[in-house]
Symmetry: C2
Subunit: 436 residues, 2 copies
């Protein structure tokens, strides 16, 4: 089979067979198909799309380009959650112990901060001693013992995705729903989950800027995952404002512990409970999302989720005493206050601008090889809808140095919008698509 014929078929709107997709993906991995043919094919896919069947075949072929996690020998059910990325999105840290406390096994493989979005691995690594580099043996062992474990992807998992993503990045073929679907899903299926809950963020602070785009991706993830024999839930949540009161690395660990102590901000808890409840439903632990929500709330109020979180920190090498001592005080000395420029209401805090400002501060990074800082970020005192008088403290902002605060400041002040009228409330959980 010639790669050019596969490119032409897709270019002309044809549905590719599994063998045709394999000719491109396997040919690329083996070096038989050159990058210039792969990139032309990617652009044809960008324009023509893929059926769920094609996307499932692409996902499966990518998956098979590397090794997969073998969770046999541990009792399931195995369910993971994946977020498409947001600002202040520390849901994974809170949800994993909640779901584990309810009897779900969570093999969680997370990513790093990139661009304006944060990364779970960077947050966890702000805990002294905590390692996110687990080999398969330890990952399995910890999941079996603690109910969940947190790790990064190894190079052995879906190497085709790493190569394809690098190529997409330089050929303007990132924003393709089937390609995004295959990239996300291949890695999630490789980690051994039987069911998956996707948090597809929508809004200025998300990768998908509109609800329509988010819905397209959520549908694609759900239908493609279903075609691969997985139980899948896609939840579209709003990412217009940062999630929770704190944005940073250790700052978000702090807030996660607050949540597990029953003192989490309402917006963050709403999203966390909804996603964890769907995990329980997908796992068969609860019959519906309302019953599941009650179980999740009980996991928090009983302290069992917090206990599992602390156990995981110890298991993965973290120093719980130091972490506890750092709460409320581990802050960079380079600090500046964001104050209300007028009296009225906080109409919006723009998640995208906060995320971009965070890159300057040291919360995030532009290249995966750049370092992040553990002790920087935002502590919001007032959020959307709050009444403020001119000069009131809205946020305390911590930067890795004075220059970073200077660089971030125009974005920080632009992110805050204060006006005479209270803003209308908007739902956090926008839509849910299920295939259970």
């Amino acid at each position: 089979m010639r790669a050019v014929d596969v490119i032409m078929k897709k270019r002309d709107g044809g549905e590719l067979s599994r063998d045709e997709i394999a000719a491109i993906v396997n040919g690329y991995v083996s070096g038989e198909v050159p990058e210039y043919q792969v990139s032309a094919w990617l652009m044809a896919v960008f324009f023509r799309g893929m059926s769920f069947r094609e996307t499932a075949d692409l996902t499966d072929l990518m998956l098979r380009s590397g090794s997969t996690m073998d969770l046999s020998g541990i009792a399931g059910p195995f369910v993971d959650k994946h977020s498409t990325g947001g600002v202040g999105d520390k849901v994974s840290l809170v949800l994993a112990p909640i779901a584990a406390a309810c009897g779900v096994r969570v093999p969680m493989m997370s990513g790093r901060a990139l661009g304006h979005t944060g990364g779970t691995l960077d947050k966890l690594e702000s805990i002294p001693g905590y390692t996110t580099r687990l080999d398969e043996k330890r990952f399995r062992e910890y999941i079996g013992r603690d109910g969940f474990a947190m790790t990064g992807q190894t190079d052995a998992i879906v190497p085709a995705d790493k190569r394809l993503y690098s190529l997409r990045d330089v050929t303007a073929t990132v924003e393709s729903v089937p390609l995004i679907t295959a990239s996300i899903l291949s890695k999630k299926v490789a980690e051994g989950a039987e069911a998956l809950v996707f948090d597809v963020k929508s809004g200025p602070g998300a990768f998908m800027k509109t609800v329509d785009d988010a819905e397209r991706l959520a549908s694609s993830l759900v239908r493609t995952g279903q075609a691969m024999g997985k139980r899948i839930v896609g939840v579209i949540t709003d990412m217009t404002e940062p999630l929770g009161d704190k944005v940073g690395n250790f700052l978000e660990v702090e807030e996660s512990i607050d949540c597990l102590e029953g003192r989490g901000p309402a917006d963050l808890m709403e999203v966390t409970y909804r996603l964890s409840a769907w995990m329980l439903v997908a796992a068969g632990v609860a019959k519906d999302v309302d019953a599941a929500t009650r179980l999740c709330e009980e996991a928090v109020s009983s302290g069992r989720a917090l206990e599992l979180f602390m156990r995981n920190v110890r298991t993965q090498g973290g120093d719980v005493d130091r972490m506890t001592a750092m709460r409320g005080s581990f802050r960079s000395k380079h600090v500046r206050e964001l104050r209300a420029p007028a009296s009225g209401y906080v109409r919006s805090i723009d998640a995208y601008k906060i995320g971009l400002a965070g890159v300057y501060l040291g919360v995030g990074r532009n290249k995966t090889s750049d370092p992040v800082a553990p002790d920087v970020g935002f502590v919001f005192e007032r959020r959307k809808g709050a009444a403020v008088a001119k000069g009131d403290l809205v946020a305390t902002v911590y930067g890795k140095d004075a220059a970073s605060l200077d660089a971030a400041w125009p974005l920080v002040t632009e992110a805050l919008s204060v006006g005479p009228d209270a803003p209308a409330a908007s739902p956090l959980v926008i839509k849910e698509i299920t295939a259970l």
Copy 2:
């Protein structure tokens, strides 16, 4: 300027500036932009198209990637004709001396047979001694003296086109009107013509299979050429049946001499006179196409066009005596007759199938590096519309060897369609688009 941003802009339907197109084309030629970005850009152009302004900029940038023919010092007007390729299309051999006899200077750069379509250079090289490898000095000198000269493209002419075409060929981005336009036009403008007549073939034996597609290409060539300051005519002609009674290399030289002796087949002469007449109009030699046609007919009937043809053969090293002696007898000994399978009318002789069969016989080739045979091809005794009795000779077919005839024969017999009713006549010159 980053190549990925240019790709993204085109992908999203934007109109690229000259600088943005230059970033891709010049970057590709210099090696700064890798092939995988160029191919993604080509596919984005395939889907999004280009404005005439963009296409003109692309053409001009490709043109400037190499050297251009300097015809200063010779008196013009310089006009060339280009055909998009067909079967039995020996128009160039007849038209160049006709136009030259009427006072037009014709700097003709032609191509080789590829796939089912024939090539002017291969036909000319079937004349013993004839060379199509002229350096610029000789090309200029011959045009000045004989009114026209026939050459192939040198490597110095539009090197960007050679590289882009090779990449398009393996990335399914050949069939893009702006890319085809820039490829054709850059080479034609580089040869120094002030005005150009394009014969855009339409039909099963052509690159453009439908009149609509041919019209799109003709419009693009005319409007883009106009944007580059050239006078342009696009003539859409039918390529459903082979043009003329003979298809081959020396066979087509023979038929070209027949034409110049005033004994050419009607279809071939109709197309030849129409295209050469437009050359005269574009050159300003005649005020309209009717007056121009009379001048072209007079150039044939007076014998002046034939005289110029013979002079050119001598000038370019051909042996006129041997050529004359070969007429009617220079035929491969591997011969087979195509006879009418039933009584009735020849409804069609499929140009595409004849062209493909010709590749087996040795008329054409699949790769530009393959050799062709001078003494093979088709001599048609009956053409579309002719009444035939079962067993009548329709064509004599010459192959390079017995095996080639065996391989070609299924296509040859399939090409001939005989039925009880006479076929409807269809026009040869379908549409004309002018910018003079």
